[in-house]
């Protein structure tokens, strides 16, 4: 559960204090100092996926409304406002719940917020309904790999990494 600091005009009532305690505890991303993990999404998911996919891009046609929201989300992500980015992506998912690109972007934002469980889930969903080939597929598996690693599933992580490589040279099943 994400929360932001609240400004209340009256002196903090017990209610606010209660809330702060309750939600600080549940806070998914305490804004901490940069750690070696910062930049992980770019370095371990997006960049290798871009390299993998040179020449084979599979992009579903995108609704302009979704495009706008994805751009907003990306901008929010760049300023480090991951909560706001997630909010834009959620709105995009309301419009196109089965868009693998939105789901994968959400997975990456979850990765940024270090919610590895949710990152894994969104990436799996994206893969399930996505093209299962090309750049998105590669980002799906790379996200799954990084998440599994953080969740302590080392063999699973290695396996996912291998699957990412296969995104580029195997036709998806059934085509």
């Amino acid at each position: 559960m994400a929360r932001k600091s609240s400004k209340i005009y009256r002196w903090p009532s017990p209610f606010v204090v209660l809330l702060m305690t309750a939600f600080l505890g549940a806070c998914a991303t305490p804004p901490g100092p940069p750690t070696p993990q910062d930049g992980e999404v770019e370095a371990r998911v997006r960049e290798p996926a871009r390299q993998d996919s040179e020449g084979i891009q599979v992009f579903p046609l995108q609704n302009p409304a979704v495009k706008e929201l994805l751009a907003d989300a990306s901008a929010a992500e760049q300023t480090g406002d991951y909560g706001q980015a997630a909010s834009y992506l959620e709105r995009a998912l309301r419009i196109q719940p089965r868009d693998p690109e939105i789901l994968q972007s959400m997975a990456e934002v979850q990765l940024q917020m270090r919610d590895y469980g949710q990152a894994l889930n969104f990436a799996s969903r994206s893969y399930d309904i996505g093209p299962r080939v090309g750049e998105i597929c590669s980002r799906n598996w790379r996200t799954i790999s990084v998440s599994r690693e953080h969740l302590g599933d080392h063999p699973g992580s290695v396996e996912a990494e291998k699957k990412a490589a296969v995104c580029m040279n195997t036709k998806p099943r059934g085509l």
Binding site: M1, A2, R3, K4, S5, S6, K7, I8, Y9, R10, S13, F15, L18, L19, A22, F23, N63, P64, A65, K67, E68, L69, G83, Q84, A86, S87, Y88, E90, R91, L93, R94, I95, P97, R98, M106, Q118, N121, F122, S124, R125, Y127, D128, I129, R132, R173, G174
Partner: protein, 782 residues
């Protein structure tokens, strides 16, 4: 000290007698003494008044009801949105139809084009300015959105959410806070023009005003003007006594001076705008212009026209005396008097004031039913809020609560339930039948509508959340899901026995389930047994799988219920609420990506700072390949099974998945169904659980159809995930075949569960192996 005083006095007496000049000094000293006593008493008194008035000012200013908002409607090209639903949404958000939507809050309709002037609004994720745009709708989809003026095409725009409920402070005051910066200019200046022209300059009391009032009253021979400043009136409003004693007036004046010393003019004026008493609705006092505007005109303040502002300002003098609903003529006179003051002070031109004075009062005949519009849904919201907030905070902190409710879905769901039950009466069912309905977004788990009673205005027992009823055959798909998860043993074409059986119950009695048609159907496929809801086959299948597995699976799907693990649960001897059943089917409809159902999106402070957000969270189910196969089977319930009548009732060509449910002696009727977009659960029965003559398809399914007839929707997605695929098989033998062979049907299989043997027809064509593979794989459904 007293000695010295005595001495002095004695000496003075002496000198007094001798020198009459000292009289003056004596009076002077007496005066000083009296002044000292006066001050000695006054300082604590003023301090006391100071304490009283500042406490009141600080405290009362912030006692605000919390507001509950529906979800904001996204409008974009390709959005599924019919014109009637758009109009419902607009009305719910308080929009008025007009020929020219020149002001925010107005809209116009011409054919399939709707022009909307959206108000500015602070959404949960940011503030947006007002915007005018045109929406073209063709069929059930938005075809274009263009900004006005200019006609620039817009990719995405949203309507501000409807306000669906308020949670009020206990002192029974209703208030919609208005901000001085956002208050209409005419209200701010007009109020001063009418009540206190010197407001900007006086220190709390206005001597010139008092003199002017006195002169005017003298001239008229009666009290025609008051000399109270707005500050004094604010003080008077705080303590709500209207006695006109001198002492009261004196206290008021002191407190007014004190307020002015502590706070600046705009704070005082803002407090006044929100504090002044402007009417009484039942037990609730209407305070402030923001609320009065809603109460009398059903419009937010910023959308009032000059004559409406004039009426409200005029009512300051006596809210009940000038009550426009009870004394329209008197109110009209007062309004026009105010309008002429507007003209006199240059706030309106003469001609505009005249034009406004000719307009009708425009007060709504009845104030909107106070508080909550959608009781059942708001009940769910409050339940979820109660996990975090104390009741008192909800009543006083003025929280902004953003929910997932879709007003158009809610209205149509309620209409489908109320109208559907009335129709069932004409088909011979009881008029005392009750029903519940839950509608949620498949992918996000957002509850879009919730009906808890056939009567929308009744706020009592909320059946959608609280009615625990046996779910009957609605449970069966889970038994088949468990079978499909055992992919080595079962596929949809595996045959099982639908034959009589008897089971020893824990209490020693024998249980012999029978089918709805009292027949046994022999060897049937899983698909047939599920789509036709055969009891005997289901119990046999369930026994092979194990009753504990079913109990565990229900929990895994997101419902924690106290379930007795006995074989009768295979036929739905499990009591669940409609909301819980919706949770289970959300998981299935979303292909195994469970999302906890939620009614809340975010909660903010009155100033728009986020307190908590309820983000979308996914909890994937195991064996999603089996869930995908089950999805197909449930579309067959609608296509050829117990819900066969559904497409006819809906009258639209799209793939729907569903399941009917009926319980013993026809006490409960259930229907669960979903499309790609929405999942909805309907229950019909009697509150006291007596036999009601209802079946899944004769009652609940009809209500469900009544809703989905009205909702734009898309077909269920039948694409298989990794681990499941489509094959052509022979409908009778279940053997692998080719599309061109007789009796070929296409069925999805979990990986490894497909048949290996082929039909004769297929074998004949197997000569050309290459051609075979190409055909087989090429025929897969997308």
């Amino acid at each position: 000290m007293s000695k010295r005083k005595k001495k002095t006095t004695a000496r003075r007496k002496k000198t007094n007698r001798k020198q009459p000049r000292r009289w003056f000094a004596k009076i002077w000293r007496l005066g000083l003494l009296l002044a000292g006593i006066f001050l000695g008493l006054m300082v604590p008194w003023v301090m006391y008044l100071n304490y009283q008035v500042t406490t009141e000012f600080e405290g009362r200013k912030w006692d605000l009801p919390s507001r509950v908002y529906a979800r904001a409607l996204d409008i974009y090209p390709t959005a599924l949105l019919s014109r009637s639903n758009l109009e419902l949404e607009l009305k719910a958000a308080g929009y008025r139809a007009s020929r020219q939507p020149s002001l925010p809050g107005l809209y116009s309709v011409s054919g399939n084009t709707v022009e909307i002037h959206r108000r500015s609004f602070r959404f949960h994720d940011g503030e947006e300015e007002s915007i005018r745009f045109r929406v073209k709708i063709s069929g059930e989809k938005v075809s274009s959105v263009t900004g006005l003026p200019g006609g620039r095409s817009l990719d995405l725009v949203r309507l501000e959410p409807a306000e669906i409920a308020s949670i009020y402070p206990l002192q029974k005051e209703d208030r919609t806070l208005i901000n001085i910066e956002q208050a209409p200019q005419l209200l701010v200046t007009g109020l001063q023009a009418v009540e206190d022209r010197n407001f900007k300059h006086h220190p709390g009391i206005d001597l010139r005003g008092i003199l002017r009032a006195a002169y005017a009253n003298l001239k008229a021979g009666r009290a025609v003007q008051g000399g109270s400043t707005l500050t004094q009136q604010l003080v008077k409003n705080y303590f709500l006594t209207h006695d006109r004693t001198m002492a009261r007036k004196f206290n008021e004046a002191i407190m007014a001076l004190l307020l002015e010393a502590h706070y600046d003019k705009s704070e005082i004026l803002e407090a006044y705008l929100n504090e002044v008493f402007l009417g009484q609705q039942g037990a609730y006092a209407v305070h402030g212009f923001g609320q009065a505007s809603l109460y009398y005109f059903d419009q937010p303040m910023e959308r009032l026209e000059p004559h409406q502002i004039a009426l409200l300002i005029g009512m300051v003098r006596g809210a009940s005396y000038y009550n426009p609903r009870r004394h329209p003529e008197r109110a009209r006179g007062r309004r026009n008097q105010v309008l002429s003051m507007f003209a006199e002070t240059g706030l309106l031109s003469e001609s505009e004031a005249k034009k406004q004075a000719a307009l009708p009062l425009a007060v709504t005949a009845e104030p909107r039913t106070r508080g909550t519009r959608y009781h059942a849904f708001v009940d769910l919201v409050r339940r979820q809020l109660a996990q975090v907030y104390k009741e008192e905070d909800l009543r006083t902190e003025g929280l902004r609560i953003f929910t997932t409710l879709s007003p158009s879905v809610q209205e149509k769901a309620q209409a489908a339930v109320s109208g559907g039950l009335r129709q069932l009466e004409t088909r011979g069912l009881s008029a005392s039948l009750q029903a519940a309905m839950v509608v949620a977004d498949v992918a996000t788990g957002e509850v879009q509508g919730l009906v808890g009673d056939r009567n929308p205005d009744r706020a009592g027992f909320n059946r959608a959340i609280h009615a625990r009823r046996q779910i009957g055959s609605v449970i069966k798909p889970l038994v088949y899901l468990l079978a499909l998860e055992h992919s080595r043993d079962y596929s949809l074409v595996t045959r099982i026995q639908d034959t009589p059986l008897s089971l020893q119950q824990p209490d020693g009695s024998t249980w012999s389930p029978s089918n709805y048609d009292n027949q046994s159907h022999g060897a049937v496929t899983l698909l047939e047994a599920l789509t036709r809801s055969y009891n005997q086959a289901t119990v046999r299948l369930g026994l092979n799988i194990g009753v504990e597995h079913l109990v565990n699976r229900i929990e895994q799907l997101g419902v924690r219920a106290d379930i007795d693990p006995v074989p009768s649960i295979f036929l739905g001897a499990v009591e669940l609420t409609p909301l819980e059943v919706t949770q289970i089917y959300q998981s299935i409809a979303a292909g195994g990506f469970s999302v906890p159902l939620r009614s809340l999106i975010a909660v903010q402070t009155a100033d728009g700072d986020e307190l908590v957000r309820y983000p979308l969270r996914m909890l994937p189910q195991p064996n999603r390949d089996a869930i995908a196969v089950l999805n197909y089977a449930l579309t067959q319930v609608v296509e050829q099974g117990t819900a066969k009548a559904l497409p006819g009732l809906i009258g639209q060509d799209r793939t729907i998945a569903g399941k009917t449910g009926t319980t013993n002696d026809r006490r409960d009727s259930w229907f669960v169904g979903y499309t790609r977009n929405q999942v909805a659960v309907t229950w019909v029965g009697e509150d006291d659980n007596r036999p009601a003559g209802v079946t899944g398809s004769n009652a609940a399914m009809r209500l469900w159809a009544g809703l989905f007839r009205e909702l734009p929707n898309e077909s269920v997605d039948l694409r298989m995930p990794d681990g499941a695929y489509w094959l052509w098989v022979d409908g009778n033998s279940g053997l692998l075949t080719l599309e061109d062979c007789d009796g070929a049907i296409q069925v999805p299989f979990v990986d490894g569960s497909g048949p290996s043997e082929t039909t004769a027809c297929m074998s004949a064509l197997q000569d050309d192996e290459e051609s075979f593979w190409r055909k087989l794989l090429g025929k897969k459904k997308q």
